[in-house]
Each structure stands twice: as C-alpha cells, then as structure tokens.
Amino acid sequence: MAFLQKFLIRTLYAVILLAAVLVLNFSMMHLAPGDVADTISQSMGGADEEVLAQIRADYGLDQPFLVQLGRYMGNVLQFNLGYSFFYNAPVTDLILDRLPATLLLVFTAQILALGIGVVLGVISARRPNGIASHFVTMLALFGYSAPVFWTGILLLIAFSLKIQWFPVAGMRDVTIEGGFFTHALDVARHLVLPVITLGSLFLALYSRLARATMMEVLGSDYVRTAKAKGLTEREVVYKHALKNSLSPVITLAGLQFSAVISGAVLVEAVFSWPGLGTLAFQSIIARDTPTILGILFFSALVVIAGNLLTDLALRLVDPRVGGKR
C-alpha cells in the first residue's frame, strides 16, 4: 500500500512538473519578439506581409496567447505533440526519427567513459602520488576543461583530414552498399570521433569521482580490518572497497544521463550527427515552438525516468538505500 501511494504521489509530481515545463516554456517562447513565420520567410529569401500573415493564420499564430496555449495543452493531453511548422512534419515523428542516433552516441560514450573512468580512478587511488595518478589527473583536467567543439574539430583535422581514418560528418555513408554487417561497421566508423569527444568529458568526471571516493573508502575502518584479516590487496580493493565506492559514481551517472540531450548538442553540431541535439539546436534557431516544446517534454520524461533508474541501480549496489525506514 505504502509503495503504491508513493508511486502515485511521484507520478502526480511528474505530471505537474511536465505541465509546468510546457506552460513556462510556451510562455517564454511567446515573450520573445518575432516568430517562426520570420524564419520560414528567411528560409524562402523573404516574403511580403500578405504571405507572412497567411503563414501565421495557417499555423494559428494569429490567435491570442491563451488560445494558442490552450490548444497546445489540449493536444498534449491527447499525447499529440503537435506539428512542426518549420519541418512540415509531426513533432513526434521528428523526435522518434532522431532519438536512436542520440541514444547510440550518448550510451556508447557514457558506458565507455564509466567503465574506463572507474578503472582509471581506482588505479590512481591506489597510488595517489604515483606517475599513473598524475597522468590520470592531467587527462581528466584536460578532458573537462577543453571545450567539446574544439576537441571535436581538432580530432577531425587529425583523423579525417591528416590521417584519413574516420569520416567527417553524419552517421552513415549512403553510397556504401552491402549487408547489415557492412552498415553496422560503417556506423561504428562514424561513431568513433563523436564518442571520443563526448566521452572525454564524462571520463573526466567519473575518473575524478571514482578516485576521490575510492581513496576515502580505502582509509576506512573496515578496509583496515580486511587487510588485518590477511586478505590480499587485490581482494581488498576489488571485493570490499570498490562496491562501497561505487554509489556516488552511479548517482553521478544517473544525473549525467538526464543531461543526455544538452550534453550532446555541441558534439552533434560539430559532427553533423543526426540526433536530437542537432534538432533542438536548429529548432531553437528557427523558433519552431512545437518542436522545441516536444524536445523539452521529452527531456523532462528522460530526467524523470533517469532518476527512477538511478534509484533502482543504487538499491542494487547498496542494500541500505530504499530499505525499511
């Protein structure tokens, strides 16, 4: 019963949060001068007043603010995210078309960064003043402070232009013919540079955090006890200390996952990766309100789902979380 009640309350909060996200953003977009009719006319090389008025009438932009908001919210209640004025396509289709590309990029980057980051963190925590530790620290600082568009362009110049190992842009080469395997390999080739660019940012976070928590755990009483029992260093570190130091890292990963779209915007822009980040960026420039709101709605959903998943993962590594209180 208590669980059901908790679940219902959380769902209610989520719905309120989603509604607030939409109403606030809709209002903010409306406050800015100009609208999508201007960007449509820009894409057409200019249009006279009559055409602009016609575009506004076609998309209901000539209606009062509250009418527009009411219509939009009404549609969302029916799970209809509306129609993109700029792309002439249903927003849901646009988002679902772009989602796989972003998920592929962000998941690959996250998982690699998490795995490598934890390993590097543990290595440097075991000998905090060793050469390896300093090297990891430098790598992390570099990864964190270098802007992704700069890293991206630099990687492009190095590995697409000087040594032509990887393609410049996009997710696949449409001139390639072949079976599933050929295409998968082609996508993988396109994925390498964006993943390194995005991953280096995450890697910095994870390796620093893993190092810090690991050092803290290694100094605690139960580790000393384990050592006193005569366990080998390896057993102490990987069996006892690692599990206990993981929960902050997982929390961080969950939070980062929530930033799926925001984190990918710049990387996607540099590599013309056909994902949600690029779509968000272009819709903001085009002032395409339905698409922007659709993406925000979707991001809010992802954040909520991400938080729930993080909770679950924490329960798995740390039985104390979510226990009877």
Partner: protein, 524 residues
C-alpha cells in the same frame, strides 16, 4: 542584352545549339555525385518554397519552362519555343511533347496552368506572377499566359527554381492554397526534372536518382546525386578537402573560402550567383533622427571605408557593390557615386547638417545585426563613425526573428542587412526602394525611403518591354539611390562554389545550383 525581350519572340533553337557545343570535353555517363547542403531542407517542393536550400534539389526534381545560359539569354527547357505578343499581354509557351512526370504521366499544359495557380497562391515572391490573370490551354502542348500589363520579369521568373511545374494529378487533391503543406512535398515527390527522389531523411540527406524517361535524350549524365546535410561550415570544409564531398555551393566564410582555394584538386569560384544576386549592405532608417537628412547619410558613407571591409573583414573574397542590383547582372550600373573614404568631407557634411562637434561627439545612433557572421562589420562601423563624432551602439538580437521584427517595424537606426535579387529587379530589388512597400516586414522597404521619381522609374521599368529602354530606367534609378543612400551598398555576398577536379561541367550559370544539373558529370 540588346532587345532581350523582343528577341524572345522567335524560337531560340540556334542559341541552344550553341550552348551544347560549348562543352569542350566529352561528358561521361554514370556515377554518384556527392554534394552537400548547409542546412536542413524544409520542403522539397520548389513551387511553394523558395530559397537557396530548396533550390538545388527542387530544380533537379521539377523542370521549369525555361533555363538560362551564362550570358543571361533564355534557353528552351520544358518550353521548346515561346512567343510574346506585340502588346506584351500574351505569352505563349509551346511545350515539348515528350515530357513525363516521374510516375509516367505525360506533362501537359494543364499542369502548367495548375502550377501557375499554386505558385500565385503559395510562393512568397508575389511579384513574379502578379500580372498573370489567367492561363489558357488551347491544346495539351500550348499554354498561354494572359497578362494585365506587360511583364518582362516573367522571363527570369519562368527559369531556375522559380517556376517549377508540378503535377496536377498529385497536388490537385487539395485546395491550391493548401499545397504548401501537402504531404507529397517531402515524400514520394513527383516532378518531371532530370532526377527523381530516392530518399529524403530529414537532417541527414536527400538522395536523387537518374530519371530514365527525362525529356532530353541522353541526359542526365549522372546516375545518382547524394546531397548530404552538414550544417557546420568547418566540417564541410574538411569534407571537401578529404574528398568525401565532390561539390558544394553557398560557402561564404572568408577564412574557409581562402583556405579551400589553396587546396589542390579543388576549384573555388564565385561564379554562378548573378541571378540569386546576394548583397550585403548598411541599411539606414531615413525616417529617424539625424538619418532623415541625406547629408548625414552621405557623411556616414564617406566615413565608412569599404576597402577595409573588403580587405580586412572579407579578406578579399567579396567584390564591391554600389547599387541594389548585383554586380553580375546586366542591369548593374557601376558608374555611380562610390564614396571614397574622406573624413574631411564627412565632417563638413555633418557640420552643414547642423550637428556640430561638442567635445568629441555629435550625436549617437544604434546599429543592429541579425546573425553573428556580420557582427565584425557592425563593430567596424562603430569604430569608423567614432572618428567623425557619431557614437554608435551595437545592438545584438537574440536570434533572427527578434532582428526581423525590429526591421519589419522599422525600430532601428542602422542595420547590417543581406538581401537577394532573385532574378529580375522587379522580384528582389524593387521591394527595398519603392514607397508602396514601406515597413511591410523584414526585407521590405525597411528604410522608409520614399522618392517619387524612384517610384515612377521602378513602375515604368516593370512594364518596359524594350530592354535598352528598360536598362536606361534602371540606370537612372541606380544613380538616384546611390546619391540618396537609403542603404549604403557595400559588397556582394561572397558566395563560392567548391568542386573537385572529378566534377565535369559544374553548374556555374546565372542560377548556380538552382538549375537542373543534367549536364554535370563525373570524370574517371
């Protein structure tokens, strides 16, 4: 150029023969040309969506009645010949008899009449077909456009991407004014152009395939065109350089253009932009404050050093422009007041206008810009005008719509602006200077400029069928606006087409990539 319009009254078979013998090398059949688009495509149907991005795929998918050669002479395309009546009120198009749409249906005069209706109802350039009152279709291969007044601009408006003939049997199932949101604008598109749509993935690519039943025998040469969508100019540059992309147009960042010029195997050329006619200028609101006085506007022109902009900011990639007509156009008049930088003259003019120097300043103005690329220009204007005692504040806009709104409502003193000619002066030039178009949204007469003689000249030129007389009218018009400066013209936008040595006969005519590239081929 002589008697352009009247010369069209006879068929131009001879000219078309000359055009095809101009090819020095034997073109090769086959191959996939990989090209690039700088932004996502909003709509592939060029009958309802203009603009440089749709123009490229649009002109491959849909054919138009005419095409133009490099010398601004119209050539037969869907219309094998055409006649203009003596009074200029009837234009008869004799269509080729073997044109088919990509679905196999023959193209007839009914489709031409339908397309004119759709374009009139949806296309943003109302001036193109405004005088067309009706289209008669006496038989399947004859279309007669009836005009309310002579309309020489119609010739250019029937070429390039401006008059795409779309099939009535596909797009006729909705009211004409709803064709702009027709689902077939982006999927399963059917035209009669040299290439048909194979795949369009929003944000990724457009793939076109050779249309085997194209009405010109033996064309197109290419089997396939892949248009990749790469918005980042730096990434595009690398793609040209490493050979991933064979050809691209509308590159304009000076440092990238200059870098690509040094790359072996690549040609970078400013040819092919005369009809699109992109211009960069300093707009001045002639209805506000000190700018009402023509002497102040002239002083500003004398104080702003165009050479600095051309050499330092555009790094030599752009050419100067002095009037509202693109320098490549046959109507361009270079012999007008050029305002060589002269600070003494500027100061004298400002004194004379009644704005004496007090301390180190006379008055203050604002300058706007709508996109980040041109911010350096506005910063330069600020520095240049400081020297003659005008304090300029650079006003940034959050995004394009914010700036467009300011311009449309004439809520600005000065602004950097880029405006395109789009073929005939009636379509893209007149709108900036004629007083009936004051303050009607962005890229209208946002300067609030009004001069009776200019209005008269523009109206006369719009209906003048004798091309010499027409040129004389536009000459006088250009002299007046260069003298009165509603805008200070700076340069033609430095658009460049980039292509690799593998590309034979790239599209460098007046419409650039907004024309069918049925004669472009890939070398071995």
């Amino acid at each position: 150029m002589r008697n352009l319009f009247k010369g069209l009254m006879t068929a131009t078979a001879l000219a078309s023969m000359m055009a095809s013998t101009a090819l020095a090398e034997e073109p090769k059949q086959g191959g996939t040309l990989v090209t690039v688009l700088g932004t996502n495509v909003r709509n592939l149907n060029s009958a309802v969506q203009s603009g440089i991005v749709t123009g490229f795929p649009g002109a491959q998918l849909f054919a138009s009645p005419l095409r133009y050669d490099e010398d601004w002479t119209p050539q037969p395309y869907l219309a094998e010949s055409w006649e203009v009546s003596e009074d200029g009120l009837k234009v008869t198009l004799n269509l080729v008899k073997n044109a088919k749409f990509h679905d196999g249906t023959p193209l007839t005069s009914k489709d031409v009449a339908f397309s004119v209706e759709v374009i009139k109802a949806n296309h943003p350039f109302k001036a193109m077909f405004a005088p067309v009152t009706s289209v008669d279709t006496p038989d399947d291969y004859t279309a007669v456009l009836n005009l309310s007044q002579p309309h020489p601009a119609l010739m250019l408006a029937m070429s390039g991407q401006l008059m795409s003939i779309i099939p009535q049997h596909i797009y006729g199932d909705v009211p004409v004014d709803e064709v702009k949101t027709h689902p077939r604008n982006n999927e399963n598109v059917v035209g009669s152009g040299p290439f048909k749509l194979a795949e369009f993935v929003n944000g990724q690519h457009v793939i076109l395939e050779r249309f085997d039943d194209f009405f010109i025998e033996g064309r197109p040469y290419l089997d396939k065109i892949v248009m990749r969508i790469i918005p980042d100019p730096a990434a595009r540059a690398i793609a040209y350089e490493n050979g991933e992309v064979h050809m691209g147009a509308f590159e304009l960042l000076p440092r990238i253009v200059n870098r690509l010029k040094k790359v072996e195997n690549l040609t970078v050329t400013p040819e092919g932009y005369g009809a699109v006619g992109p211009l960069d200028w300093l707009a001045m609101n002639t209805q506000r404050g000190p700018l009402k006085d023509v002497r102040v506007r002239k002083a500003i022109a004398y104080a702003v050093d165009k050479n600095f902009i051309l050499k330092a900011l555009m790094q030599g990639t752009a050419v100067e422009s002095r009037t509202g007509i693109h320098p490549d156009s046959p109507f361009y008049k270079a012999d007008v007041e050029a305002y060589e930088v002269d600070l003494d003259k500027a100061n004298a003019l400002l004194d004379e206008a009644g704005y004496p120097m007090e301390g180190d300043s006379r008055f203050s103005l604002t300058i706007d810009f709508g996109w980040a690329d041109v911010k350096p220009q506005t910063e330069y204007v600020k520095a240049a005008l400081k020297k003659v005692g005008i304090d300029v504040e650079v006003r940034a806009s959050a995004d394009f719509p914010t700036w467009a709104k300011r311009m449309g409502e004439m809520d600005f003193d000065m602004s950097w602006d880029s405006v395109f000619n789009w073929g005939d002066p009636v379509i893209g030039v007149q709108r900036t200077y004629i007083s009936s178009n004051i303050g009607k949204g962005v890229w209208s007469n946002t300067q609030g400029y009004s001069n009776e003689r200019v209005d008269e000249l523009l109206e006369m030129a719009a209906v003048e069928t004798d091309s010499d007389k027409r040129k004389a009218l536009y000459d006088e018009f250009q002299t007046i606006i260069a003298d009165e400066l509603p805008v200070y013209h700076i340069n033609a936008l430095p658009y460049h087409t980039v292509y690799s040595d593998k590309v034979g006969n790239p599209p460098l005519g007046i419409w650039g990539t907004s024309t069918p590239i049925d004669m472009t081929y890939l070398k071995d």
